[in-house]
């Protein structure tokens, strides 16, 4: 009975309801083309949100992901065009830089005991500033055709990046749910002191998670560049808020200790479906934002209500 009232279940019901209502509003909504295309649009935020789930489960937050995305996007362009490196190497280097940017977040948070909100608020400005300094407001275009397979192409009829997202999400779900790393992540979020006293490598795990968050943002950057065929330094601005919204909508406690990847994926789908379905139904985009905000608050309210009843 308790299992049935879990946040994920409530959310899944909500997703199905939303899909039914939205499908009745526009006959374009439930076409295979549209669904796959929406999956394509969801991937960048999705990759970031999946790793953000780990970050938030530890009781932390990573606001710098949007800036890392922008920085890596610029660097891919600069490495390839200005420095003449082969594109695969440029992408590889971009992933390294993104991971390193996340690693720095982790070091600031664990070594210098800066609260994650402050630390990543700082690097949000820092990384964006570096990206803008490097780009000098120029954009890079003219990527080779093979590169667009990543962001615009298909594999077996499904958008390439959706495969990538699926693989990352499945691995993340397994790691969080079934491994000692996942267990340690929950323990840190519920009671960091007790986790430390139990001999868990708290700092090491946190650094690994923030580094992964940087890596996810960098991967999202490569996909983003490939999807829109160009590189600009303002890419990814505000992505952190979309990702956090999906994670929290998915039932992850902002105080840490609770949350699942399945919830995050459901959260992502609900948001994307609302955005797309409402625009197809002719609702203006500001109306959509209002609705997403309302859905977020309502879902959490309902979930808390059930949770409280379940406890007493």
């Amino acid at each position: 009975m308790r299992k049935l009232l879990r946040h994920e279940t409530i959310l899944a019901v909500l997703v199905v309801l939303a899909l039914i209502v939205l499908a009745s509003q526009s006959d374009k909504f439930f076409t295979l083309d549209n669904i796959l295309n929406q999956g394509r649009l969801m991937t960048e935020v999705g990759l970031i949100a999946v790793i953000m789930t780990f970050v938030i489960v530890t009781g932390g937050i990573d606001l710098s992901v949007g800036s890392i995305l922008g920085l890596v996007a610029i660097l891919i362009g600069v490495f390839w065009k200005n420095m003449g490196l082969p594109l695969p190497m440029a992408i590889g280097l971009g992933l390294v830089v993104g991971t390193f940017a996340g690693f720095i977040n982790g070091i600031i948070i664990t070594r210098f005991r800066v609260p994650p909100l402050i630390a990543t608020l700082g690097t949000l400005a820092l990384y964006r500033g570096i990206a803008e300094g490097i780009s000098e407001a120029r954009s890079v275009r003219g990527y080779p055709d093979w590169f667009f397979v990543l962001g615009q192409g298909q594999v077996l009829g499904v958008p390439t990046q959706l495969w990538l997202f699926g693989i990352v999400a499945v691995i993340a779900a397994i790691v969080l749910g079934y491994t000692t790393w996942g267990r340690a992540t929950y323990a840190i979020g519920s009671n960091e002191t007790a986790a430390r006293f139990s001999g868990l490598r708290v700092d090491w795990i946190k650094i690994a998670i923030y580094s992964s968050s940087g890596f996810a943002a960098a991967l999202a950057a490569a996909i983003f560049v490939s999807r829109v065929s160009t590189t600009r330094s303002d890419m990814g601005a505000g992505v952190e808020l979309d990702a956090i919204t999906a994670v929290v909508l998915g039932g992850t406690s902002i105080f840490g200790g609770r949350g699942t990847i399945v919830g995050t994926v459901l959260g992502l789908i609900l948001i994307q479906a609302l955005k797309n379905g409402l625009s197809l139904a002719g609702v203006k985009s500001d109306g959509t934002i209002v609705l997403i905000g309302a859905v977020l608050i309502l879902t959490i309210l309902i979930s808390n209500l059930f949770h409280r009843n379940g406890n007493r």
Binding site: T180, S190, N191, A194, A195, G199
Partner: protein, 502 residues
Amino acid sequence: MTALVKLEGLSKSFAGIRVLKDVDFDVQPGEVHALLGENGAGKSTLIKIIAGVHAPDGGVIRIGNEELKAITPHEAAKGGIATVYQELLLFPELTVAENVFLGHAPKTRLRTLDWSQMRRRARQLLDSLDSPDLDVDVKVGTLSVANRQRVEIAKALSQDAKVLIMDEPTAALADADVRRLMTVIKRLRERGVGIIYVSHKLPEIFELADRVTVLRDGALIGTRAIGDVTEQSLVAMMVGREIGQLFPKPEPQVGETLLKVSNLSFGDRVRDISFELKRGEILGVAGLVGSGRTELALTIFGITPATSGTIEIEGRAVTISTPKQARNLGIAYVPEDRGLQGLVKPMTIGQNISMAALHRITNGIFINFKAEAQRAADAISQLGIRARGPEQVVGQLSGGNQQKVVLGKWLETEPRILIMDEPTRGIDVGAKAEIHALMGRLAQKGMAILMISSELPEVLGMSDRVLVLHGGRLVTTIDRAHANPESVGAAMTRATLAQEAA
């Protein structure tokens, strides 16, 4: 004389479980009425009903001559009922005077706060509580637990409390502060305040109480005048059976040295401490609060790695700079603060028990959930943890059972050296005896146990030798044969030779 508060036939259920059954209880003016019972006996529920936090399902409450079905917090305040909770509810960023008068501060004619009157009255209240040294202008956050408690009592008195409920007031106090609190309570009694005193510590109850009421499993076992009971009869009333021996200690089989600490220091908290711990031995560590007992444990366990000195395990020099290293060397630490350091309360018993030994239930990557549940079930039956099963959340267990979970977690690591910091703090008599018996059995099996405790009877009852610390230094080591309250107490308070030598 009319009772200040009188409860008749009180009942209360939570989610279908009856936690109080037909309980009678009353407080007279000018008496200390002790409320005793094991954890889960219904003491907390009873005092919360009197304080107006919970409404009873049945029964009658009389405050003075007024008859009520339930007390609201407002009526409790009006009736002069105040509570000093175990976890003190003060505002750390406000001053002493502000905390005392929060919500009912004296006002000037212009309806602004009358600061001078507020400070003057706070001063008077604290003086009347034997605390002329307590400054009314300091922030409460900077005060010691004992001083914060006095502020809380002053706050209760500032509202003209006639009934004062004290929930485990000495749980976190050092001996000297306990003495002082006793004086304060006796003074309040002389003024005609009725005091409901909840505590596990029987000596305090014999010193203070006029009457004692024992609850067990939500039922009233009896109310007696203090002269009519003995320590044994009270314990029997509480647990419903005779507890054979207070400190069941089997004959120790002391073997070779397992842990050798030489000149160990951590800053100025732990200074130049040397001792040996042998297989099968229980080595007690006594000392006042701030003497460096816990700090010594934290240094050996790698939370605050040693700044100088050496640690040898089985004759081999080791460096310990993280708890993980300590664990891998076979050291376990059952910490002082169960809720903060020992357990992840929102997690299940199974998850907590496996937490320090995750490697035992994985194949390197994946957790074997079946093995985890099995090991937890084993621990539950071996340690006698009273729980619904491995899936139950630890936060729902009583203190004694939580402590057994912490112990179970560390026994999973198969330690050779077990450090126990306040192993029975805040635990009821029955669970206490079980944990003591378990310690005896573990030592007999060859485990070396370092036991830190501020309860002298526990130190004397369980230890083969006693280390006495003062100001971060080892004052002396006393054998079981020579350890008595006088010798250990004297060493704890008077730093002798060791300090002069330094």
